[in-house]
Amino acid sequence: MFDIDKWQEILSTIKKNKMRTFLTGFSVAWGIFMLMILLGSGNGLSNGVASNFMNDAVNAMWIWTGETTIAHQGLKPGRPIQFHNDDYDIITNIPGVETASGRYFMGNTRYSYGKESGEYTTVTCHPELNEVDRMELLEGRFINDVDILQTRKVVVIGKDIHEALFKEKPALGEYVRINNVPFKVVGVCIEPESTRNRNAYMPVSTAQKVFNGSNRLHNFAITINGETLDESQAIEERIRTTFARKHRFDVADESAMGMYNKLENYIQTMRIFQAIKIFIWIIGIGTLIAGIVGVSNIMLIVVKERTKEIGIRKAIGASPASVIGLILLESILITTLAGYIGLVLGTGLMELVNYAMVQSAGDAAGQGETIFLNPTVDFGVAVSATILLVVAGTIAGYIPAKRAASIKPIVALRDE
């Protein structure tokens, strides 16, 4: 196989038939080029969407209450449902629930420090909220269990609040007044991939105590340990039936208790992308097959054109195997080389698009609102595409090579 002379023989025929070689190679290069562009775009789309999901924990779930709309156990519709602290204990004990954080809605809250003041959203929470929302702490710490137990008057403020109230001064350890109640700042945080950091976080127990919340809660943010769609739906179902029984509403009543299951959405979206990917592969392979058929056809013409030459070679002493080798190797060489060029150009173009996107996005890249991210083809795909090409070249060359080997020198040499 690796006989330098053989390759020299093939290279010299290729070199002396440049136009033919170019035409043969072009269809394959085009096929691979298109495949890479399609795959790259598909990857970009699914990477973009996946990254949007990834801002928060993928296995997160939110649960909130409303009013019933279905009569149940003799109770009329229109009855408000309200969570309490005991519901928090219940939800943390439901199998499949990893962590849970309860929230009590505070309405408008006014923050002031010295002469500066402003209205910001106060998120009351358990420490576990950080598992769901994944805040990044610039300084200090997040809310902890001791804060909850001792109902400490502490607050973690967003970066924007820090800048608005404290300007350049450090906030850690300072007291801000929240609706005129002094709270100690224990941390400054940002939400990654978000431009607005105007939220403050406060222990939910403190909020209930200080701001007349009693033991009421308005929603839960939880993480679950379901990996598959089925598991996550089973956990969702369990939570729903548990609360339906306790608060006496119909299990099917979506208004009494609302749920948003991120994993479910994520998996469904990823399924769509999986389907798109398969579709792209089918189109790509189709394009490639068109290329292979093209090469095979051109090689057949080549063999026909070279009938006389092959006849001469055979008369001079070429064995059928060497003739097969000549045509097959030429076909493989052209497909592989052309395919490689298509591969490089295709992935190169996608890298360029990626580069341009990163450049132009600049700050906006951190916003998390991209639907197109890193539209590149990974190395493994590129390698398998190359292997595919060699196989393609062999297939493309097989029939023409067989035809070439069966050429009889007397027929080829007979003067027309």
């Binding site: 002379d5 010299s12 002396k16 030459e309 001469i312 001079i316 064995s319 059928p320 040499l413 003067d415």
Partner: protein, 241 residues
């Protein structure tokens, strides 16, 4: 060297069969210079192709160097051709995208000689045929006589025992034809058996033995001593024509 015994050959023409050779008995010794003559369609090329193992025969036996040539695999035939025979054709049959040297070197490629060595040997042969300056030229840059000399060099390079030439002068003018015949004569003097097919009596008259084919059979064989008479007949044919 060559022993043909009752060779038959027919071609399938769809439904019918064309019986071209109808029992050829012929013996050719090592070092002979033979020409095959006969009217068009009499089976000269067919006979030469069988001698060159380019085609197989239907009946009879063909012994080449005491070896029976029959039922060979294509691979074996190719090898034997490469070792034993050199071909020269009317239309030269050079490979158009290879230069003179590469064309001459090609049989050695199939013998497994490396590129450097075979090109050097090819140059030697081109020099012998007075074509050294033309080594790098492509076939379409050469005259018919030059092309035929390249083809002869190619036939010689693998040191064959036999040179088979199907109308080697058919596409050449008289003086170039004679030049080519001189070369073939030299080759023959070196001990190589040369068999040519020709239409031309003056060309045939330069060989030592003329085999006349007629209707797929050998009509007559004219040997060395009778060549004078052959020339006479040839002159007579010229007159009657």
């Amino acid at each position: 060297m060559i022993k043909l015994n009752n060779i038959h050959k027919s071609y399938d023409m769809g439904s019918s069969k064309l019986h071209v050779l109808k029992g050829i008995d012929l013996e050719i010794e090592q070092g002979e210079f033979v020409s095959i003559m006969g009217s068009s369609g009499s089976g000269k090329s067919t006979l030469l192709n069988i001698l060159g193992m380019l085609d197989n025969y239907d009946e009879g036996s063909y012994l080449l160097a005491n070896k029976l040539i029959a039922n060979m695999s294509e691979k074996k035939a190719a090898q034997l051709r490469n070792d034993m025979v050199g071909f020269v054709f009317q239309s030269f049959n050079l490979i158009s995208f290879k230069n003179a040297m590469e064309n001459v070197a090609l049989p050695l490629y199939y013998k497994g000689v490396n590129r450097k060595k075979r090109n050097a040997i090819a140059l030697e042969y081109l020099e012998k045929l007075g074509l050294k300056e033309w080594a790098e030229h492509m076939p379409n840059e050469m005259s018919g006589g030059q092309k035929q000399r390249v083809a002869i060099a190619r036939a010689l390079i693998s040191n064959p025992k036999i040179i088979l030439a199907d109308e080697p002068t058919g596409a050449l003018d008289t003086s170039t034809s004679y030049e080519v015949m001189d070369i073939l004569k030299e080759i023959n003097d070196a001990g190589i058996t040369v068999i040519i097919v020709t239409h031309e009596h003056d060309i045939a008259a330069m060989t030592q033995k003329v085999v006349r084919l007629k209707d797929g059979r050998i009509d007559e064989i004219i040997r060395n001593g009778e060549l004078r008479e052959f020339r006479h007949t040839y002159n007579k044919e010229l007159v009657t024509a």
